[in-house]
Amino acid sequence: MIKHIKSVPEKITKLRMETHPFSNKSLEKKMAYLFGMVLVSIIDNELHEKERSYLAVLMNTLGISINEIDKIKESVIIDDPNTVDDIASSLSLRSLSDKYYFMLEAIVVVHQDDFIHRSEIQIIEDFFRLFKMNKIQRKKIFEIHEHLKKKDFSKVLRCAAKINIKIEPFIEYFSKTSFRVKLYENLSNTNLDTRVAGILKKNKIHLIGDVLKKQKKIPQIPGIGETYMHKIKLMLKENGMSWDTDISGYPDKDFFTMLNPGKICSKRT
């Protein structure tokens, strides 16, 4: 059973993808879409912080209250084969591009935590089978995903054009939104030296975004010398950022509450 995760506030974050082919669909289809994404993200008995962030952005995009996330999670019965069937039937994806889109997003979701569990591969296979997608079609999706991961957007666009899939939301996510999400990553989850992270934490600097926001104060913190400043700079670089990175709009309080840093507990017991 999934441990209860602190529910998120009604006023949700502004982080969303501008265009999504499902944002204009019926509520039933949107919900089935989300159920599918939640199912693939919790099938390995774990809801990673990054998966949760992605789902939150997706819910914003689809216009569904983030408050529903826990109820969706509780409603999804992993072991019940009817769940996958009901999701597929409610989605009733007729166009091939919608099928491509769903499958691509499902793959993006399972890759959020950088670890692919056997059960995740199985559920993706189940959906492929239910949508009657052949090997060539599957290959094309994985190919797009590979380019997305490498942020090679020109190749992504080229591949997507071949199968007539609206790829902009993914590019938007990988180029902008995922970066915004990263600002909320806890320093203890980065490769930053634990001693440095500890000193920063004592000075109420918990997240990558906090480092950038309070960058002028950091050199004045006792114990932070040039070596440590360099380590912080390296950590920023590893996350695709620098001291000059624009963080306007940070922190978005609602997103912060939603992630509830340090308290996220998603392991299934």
Partner: protein, 514 residues
């Protein structure tokens, strides 16, 4: 203080001596409350919260559900008074013993709890007219609670007298005066169980209703059948089905001492098939002899394991979450009205800016918008006041519960889930749902966003899918929400084509009222 009976075991002073009988009657009718001062103060505070503050609130900030909410709050208050008078009833699971007239309920309880000692009056005539609770306590005492919520300590003779004999002797029945009797004994082996001896069904309508009212509050049910009947009579099946909710049920064929093992096992297997045919879930069916205190079943331990299960479960009160639920109705109505006016204002403001209209009309629109703002502020104030009142009531109840050392349910994993089902059946139910309206104009033009007609279109693994043609909107109640609120799966509550009411809350959320 416990009053020890001085009368000989075969004589009853209240029946033999008319003066004593009259004294008992007077005592039971005009008893003064024994509630300690501190608790009385908390109770008074809650009463003021409900009778004065809440009524003031709903007078100022109208809500169509005010009467229902008020009545629910009064019920909660009544239950709090019961809890204050008998804290142990709330701290334990209730195992009710039901059955038709002369099934031997009281004798069964005497056998199971007192090894045959005849504490509870047993008779071939109608005996238990007043629901009698039996529970373990550090000292032996008997209390009666009258209709004015006053608790009176009585002795064993009085217990026997009020149960039936008093009516026979003086023509006065206590079943309309006394709400319940609580017998507290040191020797009851189950510390976490309250046993409930109910009036037999099929006596008369009043007794049936009293029995039902109390049985519905129980968590477990032992249903006794006289084995001489041969099987479970249809009237018993109807009575159980009429209880309208599921609770752990053990069927006991009493007076089995005169039957052979084969006869008992045949009766049990027929009874099981009858129960299954009627879709009644049951824990088991056994034979029992109250006379010999003996169980007739293959393991011989069914009754013991049934009671141990209840005895070892964790009990938490749901009083706080009930207050939360009741206020939720008022608050969600206020929230809905607030969102609706906000939507109207947005529409008006957008219109006055976007449209190329005459200044005169623009001024009128601005004027309407200002009035809406005023209304909005009033509603926000109402919402705030309701939240404060809710918190105050909860605090006062919490103070009482702390004083009584009663555990409070977290409202999520209730251990008294059956009581949740019970309350679902008693009242209409409200479910939170995701909401989407394709065109906001459809909502703006509505006169009452609190009651949009909807129809259940589909029930599947996700939940219940509802559509409203009137507003071209959709709502989905998640499966988890239905399970949490009612304890039942969506299929058991909803059917395709069912009509429901959608209460608009925000552009993404609504409440579905069934």
């Amino acid at each position: 203080m416990t009053q020890k009976s001085t009368a000989p075991s075969n004589k009853n002073r209240y029946l033999e001596n008319r003066e004593d009988g009259l004294k008992l009657l007077t005592q039971l009718i005009s008893a003064k409350s024994e509630t300690p001062n501190k608790r009385s103060k908390f109770l008074r505070d809650i009463e003021i919260n409900i009778e004065k503050d809440f009524l003031e609130l709903v007078t100022k900030y109208e809500c169509p559900y005010s009467a229902k909410i008020y009545s629910d709050l009064q019920k909660i208050y009544e239950d709090i008074v019961n809890v204050v008078n008998f804290p142990n009833l709330e701290n334990t699971f209730t195992v009710a013993v039901g059955g038709s007239f002369s099934a031997g309920k009281s004798r069964f309880l005497n056998a199971v709890l007192f090894k045959g000692e005849e504490l509870l009056p047993t008779n071939t005539d109608r005996t238990t007219a007043i629901p009698t609770y039996l529970l373990s306590n550090e000292k032996d005492s008997i209390f009666a609670l009258n209709r004015y919520q006053h608790r009176i300590e009585i002795d064993e003779d009085a217990l026997h007298a009020v149960s039936h004999e008093f009516k026979k002797e003086y023509g006065v029945s206590f079943s309309h005066i006394l709400k319940l009797i609580a017998v507290e004994r040191k020797d009851i082996p189950y510390k976490n169980i309250t046993f409930l001896d109910t009036p037999g069904c099929r006596n008369d309508i009043t007794d049936d209703n009293i029995a039902k009212e109390h049985l519905r509050k129980a968590d477990y049910l032992i249903w006794l059948v006289n084995i001489q009947n041969g099987t479970i009579p249809q009237t018993d099946i109807d009575f159980i089905l009429n209880l309208d909710y599921e609770m752990e049920l053990l069927v006991v064929f009493n007076k089995a001492e005169n039957k052979t093992s084969k006869e008992i096992s045949d009766t049990v297997s027929v009874a099981k098939s009858i129960l299954e045919k009627n879709n009644i879930k049951f824990y088991d069916v056994i034979g029992f002899s109250s006379w010999l205190c003996k169980e007739y079943s293959p393991s011989g331990k069914v009754l013991d394991s049934f009671l141990s299960q209840a005895d070892n479960a964790c009990v938490q009160t749901e009083l706080i979450s009930r207050v939360d639920d009741v206020f939720e109705e008022f608050l969600s109505y206020q929230k809905s009205e607030i969102e609706f006016i906000r939507m109207h204002r947005e529409f008006l403001n957008k219109g006055s800016v976007d449209m190329k209209i005459d200044d005169k009309y623009r001024a009128s629109i601005t004027e309407i918008s200002k009035k809406k703002k005023k209304e909005l502020m009033r509603l926000i104030e109402g919402e705030k006041r309701a939240s404060i009142l809710k918190d105050t009531i909860i605090k006062n109840i919490n103070d009482i519960l702390t004083e009584l050392k009663i555990k409070v349910s977290d409202g999520k994993t209730s251990h008294r889930s059956r009581k949740g089902i019970n309350s679902y059946k008693e009242n209409s139910c409200r479910f939170e749902a995701a909401f989407q309206c394709r065109d906001v104009k459809n909502l703006v033009s509505l006169e009452n966003p609190q009651s949009i007609k909807g129809v259940v279109k589909k029930i599947n693994a996700m939940g219940v899918i509802i559509k409203s043609d009137e507003t071209d909107s959709e709502a989905i109640i998640m499966t988890a929400e239905v399970l949490n609120k009612s304890g039942m799966s969506p299929e058991k509550i909803f059917q395709q084509g069912d009509e429901v009411t959608i209460q608009y809350i925000t552009s993404k959320n609504c409440i579905i009222i069934v």
